[in-house]
């Protein structure tokens, strides 16, 4: 390995001054030409080019993105978009092998917390101020949380597409039947007390007040940990799940299950928990909305309650990234930025996927206000994103296991959290 490195260094030293001037001259010309070409091509249809666009949008929102891409290409006949959608794990595997090999896409969508590994290996390029001003993408046009999310270690690696956040799904018929209905609206619980009382009123025979997912994701836990004043990681990027705040939050789902019996065991998917109409309230991400709309369910989307000390709402953001290229092609880069700008401008359509547009102006349009998730924007100042720390992926894959044990009562909150904390701490990242 080291030998290879020395050889590389040796070769680099062999580059003569003349050769260097040739290369840099050619690059400058290419950049200038590229800029000129792109300006023309995006505006008036110049040289044809193909952009590879990868993302992990395999849910209903994937189809929405396909529609947007089709609209883009029919307006820009000279740009071909080769979109690849794959599940997120495969996406990262492919990205992190393809980009270092010089085979990465021209533009990609990822979540903000997934960035550390990419930056560590130099797989992303920065958006310069010139990029942003050229495309008139400005801070004032974006939701501040989403805009900040594009910055990692003081550098801007991405431009936001959307925000998605936790919400509460309300089963309207069950609320009506339980007398939790006022003036054409469900009486949405806002505090722990109200939440438990509502869950109790909804629980009857084979129906449960709460559809609490037994497994899968740790997001509600993360949100309530923040509500309870705790956190996932300390400033050094090491886990802090072995705290009393965390134990208290993890205990809550176990109580819902074992103490109050307001939820059933064995629910492993939000869709099942909600679509079958056996559960009155389900807490999950707003991206489930299209599935419930498609299933013609009678439901309400509500803001999550404050079950602990203060209001914090779990949120995330899909953002556009420009992966590093072995042979940077300024024309392609500019076309990619133009594509990002176009999708951002048209991201009202994207809200069909249940998301909230990152562009504040779009969030105020009647088109968005008519959407089920419209009122979730009121949580803007309470949104909190998962932290972009290297160990977040270990946390995401191990914490749900511990939470499931606690939920089922096969481990105490303290023991399971201490074990998972040790596991994350142990990971050599």
């Amino acid at each position: 390995m080291d030998k290879g490195g020395n050889e590389m260094a040796g070769k680099r030293r062999e580059v003569t001054r003349r050769r260097f001037l040739q290369i840099s001259g050619a690059t400058t010309a290419a950049v200038a030409g590229g800029l000129w070409r792109t300006e023309r091509s995006v505006a008036a249809g110049g040289a044809n080019l193909t952009l590879a666009f990868w993302n992990g949008l395999t849910g209903p929102d994937g189809r929405v993105m396909e529609g947007l891409v089709n609209d883009f290409t029919s307006e820009h006949k000279n740009i071909k978009i080769e979109q690849q959608q794959m599940i997120w794990t495969d996406f990262h595997t492919k990205m992190l092998t393809a980009v270092p090999a010089g085979q990465g896409p021209d533009v990609a969508i990822m979540h903000t917390y997934e960035v550390p590994r990419y930056v560590e290996v130099g797989a992303l390029t920065e958006f310069t101020d010139a990029d942003l001003t050229a495309l008139d993408l400005q801070q004032k046009d974006f939701n501040p949380k989403a805009w900040e999310g594009g910055i990692y270690r003081d550098r801007r690696y991405s431009v936001p597409l959307d925000i998605h956040c936790m919400c509460m799904y309300i089963n309207n018929p069950m609320f009506k039947a339980a007398g939790l209905w006022d003036g054409g609206k469900p009486r949405v619980p806002r505090t722990m007390e109200e939440y438990l009382a509502t869950a109790k009123a909804l629980t009857k025979g084979d129906q449960f007040g709460v559809g609490w997912l037994q497994r899968g994701v740790a997001w509600p836990f993360q949100m309530f940990l923040w509500q309870n004043g705790g956190d996932l990681f300390n400033a050094g990027g090491e886990p802090t799940l072995d705290t009393p705040e965390a134990a208290e939050v993890a205990q809550f789902p176990q109580d819902l299950n074992k103490k109050y019996h307001y939820t059933a065991e064995g629910i492993t998917s939000t869709a099942d928990a909600f679509r079958t109409g056996k559960f009155g309230m389900v807490m999950h991400g707003d991206w489930n909305i299209p599935a419930f709309v498609a299933a013609k369910m009678d439901f309400t989307v509500a803001r999550v309650p404050v079950l602990f000390k203060k209001r914090v709402v779990w949120a995330g953001s899909h953002q556009f990234y420009l992966p590093a290229q072995r042979r940077p092609d300024e024309a392609k880069r500019q076309a990619a930025i133009g594509f990002i700008k176009w999708i951002s401008d048209h991201s009202l359509a994207w809200t069909q996927g249940g998301h909230i547009p990152a562009r504040t102006a779009l969030a105020k349009t009647p088109g968005f206000q008519a959407r089920k998730q419209a009122m979730l924007v009121d949580d803007t100042s309470f949104w909190r994103f998962m932290p972009a720390v290297p160990k977040i992926l270990v946390e995401e894959s191990t914490l749900p296991v511990a939470l499931e044990k606690i939920f089922l009562g096969t481990a105490t909150a303290k023991d399971a959290l201490e074990a998972v904390n040790a596991e994350i701490k142990r990971a050599r990242l």
Binding site: M1, Q214, R215, E265, E396, T410
Partner: protein, 315 residues
């Protein structure tokens, strides 16, 4: 009559020492080349897609490689000691052994029973052979999703009827023992047909005159099974047991789809651990080390089986 030879081991003792083999004639040599040529597509694919990545994985398991890294460093046995002392790996290894112990006996006994039953003349025999083999042609995700839906405690028909009949079993995805049982059930339904076909082939290799002689001596069905069928199936049995144990050690799809390794980590298996470490957590080197540890475990089990189950089968 030729007994099936197993993994390069003939059921017959070698009749002549290989050192004294006469030189091949031109014709024989041409035949040999033709044979190698016909084997080539498989052998090439085997080396390119199986051997090379495995060897590369072995190399990676001694390095600090993580997804995205351009350069790697040799770190010796560090990954192996990390994995072996990892409580999650230990749990996964324990669960895998439990799955092997629970699934293998059923996956030997049931197909053998089916093979013996379907080896005699009976109505619908060919249809039944096909029917029992059919599940094996399905993909693991199809099988797992079907069983998951059938067995779902809140929405599936099985629990629905159990409740109608007054039984109230705990949700299987919430119960460690039942979750493993459900995975075993799906696996048995899925792969029994394959072992059945292997046993059928073995059964058809047993000379019928042995049964005739046994009948003349007054041996009944059971006696014939124990005295003729089972001993003469030994090479097939060795093959099936070894292949089955290897397959069971590599359980992943059913668990990943049906239980996700849960409840908690009670059905988490080694391959799932490898997948999550290497791909989800992007720690390729540790994942490779875990995979190679599994390989060594499988190798030890396979060698032990050869030792205990092999031997001469003489007619």
């Amino acid at each position: 009559m030729r007994a099936p030879s197993v993994a390069g081991r003939s059921a017959y003792p070698a009749s002549r020492p290989s050192a004294a083999r006469p030189a091949l004639s031109v014709e024989q040599r041409r035949d040999a080349w033709a044979a190698y040529l016909m084997l080539a597509p498989y052998v090439v694919a085997f080396f390119v897609f199986m051997v090379a990545p495995s060897v590369y994985g072995l190399y990676l398991s001694f390095t600090d490689y993580r997804l995205g890294a351009v350069r790697v460093h040799w770190i010796g046995w560090e990954n192996f000691s990390y994995v072996l002392t990892d409580p999650q790996f230990q749990t996964s290894a324990k669960n895998t052994v439990i799955f092997v112990l629970e699934s293998t006996p059923v996956l030997i006994a049931l197909p053998l029973l089916l093979a013996v039953a379907l080896n005699r003349g009976m109505p619908l025999r060919d249809f039944l052979r096909g029917a029992f083999f059919l599940p094996f042609t399905l993909s693991v995700s199809v099988v797992s999703i079907c069983w998951w839906w059938l067995l779902d405690a809140n929405f599936g028909p099985v629990y629905f009827y159990l409740k109608q009949w007054g039984f109230h079993p705990p949700a299987w995805v919430a119960n460690a023992g039942l979750a493993m049982a459900a995975v075993v059930l799906a696996t048995v339904w899925w792969t029994s047909g394959y072992n059945m076909v292997l046993f059928l082939a073995g059964l058809q290799g047993i000379p019928l005159h042995l049964y005739e002689a046994a009948r003349m001596d007054g041996a009944g069905g059971w006696r014939q099974f124990w005295a003729i069928t089972l001993p003469l199936l030994r090479p097939t049995m060795l093959f099936v047991v070894v292949i089955q144990v290897i397959a069971s050690f590599q359980i992943f799809g059913q668990v990943y789809v049906m239980t996700g390794g849960g409840p908690g980590d009670s059905t988490r298996t080694v391959i799932q651990h490898v997948y999550e470490t290497a791909f989800v957590q992007q720690r390729m080197a540790e994942g490779s080390a875990a995979a190679w540890i599994l390989f060594v475990i499988i190798l030890i089990f396979s060698l032990a089986q050869f030792k205990f189950l092999s031997g001469h089968t003489e007619y």
